[in-house]
Every structure is written in structure tokens, then in C-alpha cells.
Symmetry: none
Subunit: 155 residues, 2 copies
DNA sequence: ACAGAATCCGGCTTATAAACCAACTCAACT
DNA sequence: AGTTGAGTTGGTTTATAAGCCGGATTCTGT
């Protein structure tokens, strides 16, 4: 589940996971995924069950006094939607409208779907191209020095 | 699988791996390879299965909040295409068009194929010659100081 | 609680793109 | 010069994606 695709998003906010990614979901044997915000950039993250378990557990265990940590918890945990996907069919995923706004993919016909191995990212295509060519994005949400406690984490 | 060749790339974006490299793929006993971007220079990297396992696993495990690390993950993982090659036959590899653009090998009749032992690199011939003679390339994508966590990695 | 409306969901159809297969050309070696 | 292996090309088939449509479910207002 690596690589880059530009599937279409329909008027109802549905995205069909491209066929070459589907095997990974099947082998995982879990038809539940979690969609949430990326804490740093205007994009959406899509985890499958096991990876979400790992991340959410770690995040919850962190002490909530550091404002940056609390921000991460709010952003990631507080915006997580769990949905089921049809493993056999087209694997349609519905993106909630507030996440669509966050990633600036409402009003779009196509989105950038980026397979990162243990997770997916969904981007506005323009933003993705901009990021790839080193341009600055309109919103970089979390641009701070990170505390030691989350240095070794991977989201 | 060392050395230098200039195979042709056809209108469909196909490159035939030269015969003298094929033995290495056969002995590996894996007919799947991964094509992705080079994070530093305008070239394409071609890994066979085991080497890709090593790199992608390491990259995924790194914490994803450091912008430099995220850039590496996006470039390498987010642009990786896995394809099967026919070990017995002609070993045609199709290069996706966005990677062709990245390496500036669209509109070319021939490319530079460089065997690096555990990986291949595919270059625009002009760029390759330029790099060998110490000339500067039009685009050097990742021109930054790398964090300690990935200092010892080799891509 | 019920009727109407809107939304959601799955199957079908068509267009497009990738993988497959086979033939032809060229070069090297005998 | 004939033979063999390598490289190149084009056509065919298969797979994939996306628009379309109808049925089902939920939601809302009366």
C-alpha cells in the first residue's frame, strides 16, 4: 500500500480505494478503519485497525499538561471517525464533511491518495503538488518544537 | 548487478532490463520490484523485494512530525509503485508517467540505467553525465541537513 | 406514529488504462 | 551465411475506475 493515486470523490463525499491497495485491507482481516486529521498539514489520515490501536493507545497514555501534547490529542483523537469498509466490493470510504473542509477537498472532483505503508493520506491535489515541489501551504497547523515524549512517535 | 547501461525507453514508458542483470533477480527468487523517487536527485530508484522491505520498514518506524523526516517518507513511500516482472521473459518494467517527469526522462529515447548492487538507478543521460563530471543539476530536491535518526540509513 | 423527503448504499454499464502475448528486427557468435 | 539470443514494437485481452441508476434506510415534520 505504497504510492500515489488520484481517485475521484463524488458529490456525496465517497472515495473508492484503488484496487492495488485493497489486498492489504483483506490480509489485515479487519474491515474497520479510522479517519482523522493530520495534526500538521491540511490533510486527512486513514489508518486501518491495528495501526490505529497503536497510535491511539500511545497518545492516550501521554500526560496532558504540555499544550502541544494536548493539541495533538485533541486533533487526532477528537476528530477520529471509525467506519466500516466493504472488503469485497469497491471499498468506498465516506469522508465526513468537516474533514473534507479541513483537507480542502470539498468542491473537488479528484483527490490525492497517498499510500504510506501503515497509513494513507488524503490531500487536495493542488496542496500535494505544492508540498512536493517545496512550496508553502496555506495552512501549516502545527509548526512547533516537539517535546521529547513524542519525538519517537510516528503518526 | 553493477555497472552502466543505456537501454531504450519506448512510447509506453517501458524499459527492458538488460540480460546481464537478470540473473540477480532470478537468484533473489522474488519477481516483485519497487520503483520510487530518489529523495535527493532527479532520478528513479528500483529496489528488489528484500531491499525494499528493509528501507520501507525503517522509514515507517520513524516518527513522523519532523518535517524533514516527513518529506523523506512522502517522497519515498508516497511515490512507490510495486510491480511484478517476468523473471523468465524480457523483464519489461513500466515507469509511471509522474516518475518519468521527475527523472526528466519523458521525451527521451534512451535512459541511463545504473546498477548499484542492491538497487538500480534510472537517470536522464544528460543529468547522469553532468553529475559524473561534477556539474550541478537543475533540481536537487532535498538539500538539507539530515537528522541523526536517518544518518545511518542508505536509500 | 405516519408520510414524505432526503440521503445513503450497492449493483450495473461503459470507458480507460495497464498487463499480456507474440512477432519482428538486430546483433553477435559460430 | 545460418543460428541463437536479446531487444523492440504493436496488437489483443484483461482489469480497473467512475458515472449512472434504483432500492433501501434513515430522518424530519406534521
Amino acid at each position: 500500500m505504497f504510492g500515489f493515486n488520484t481517485p475521484s470523490i463524488d458529490s456525496k463525499g465517497r472515495i473508492a480505494i484503488p484496487a492495488r491497495y485493497r489486498i492489504d485491507f483483506k490480509t489485515q482481516n479487519h474491515n474497520e478503519i479510522v479517519i482523522t486529521k493530520d495534526p500538521q498539514y491540511p490533510s486527512i489520515k486513514l489508518y486501518h485497525h491495528s495501526e490505529w490501536q497503536r497510535i491511539s493507545t500511545k497518545l492516550q497514555s501521554l500526560q496532558g499538561l504540555d499544550p502541544i501534547v494536548r493539541n495533538l490529542q485533541w486533533t487526532i483523537l477528537g476528530n477520529a471517525y471509525q467506519t466500516d469498509i466493504d472488503i469485497e466490493g469497491r471499498m468506498l470510504v465516506r469522508i465526513p464533511s468537516d474533514l473534507q473542509n479541513y483537507a480542502q477537498i470539498n468542491e473537488q472532483k479528484q483527490v490525492a491518495l497517498v499510500g504510506m505503508g501503515n497509513k494513507f493520506e488524503i490531500w487536495n491535489i493542488k496542496n500535494w503538488e505544492m508540498r512536493q515541489t517545496g512550496g508553502s501551504l496555506s495552512t501549516e497547523i502545527l509548526d512547533v518544537v516537539l517535546p521529547e515524549s513524542i519525538k519517537e512517535m510516528s503518526f
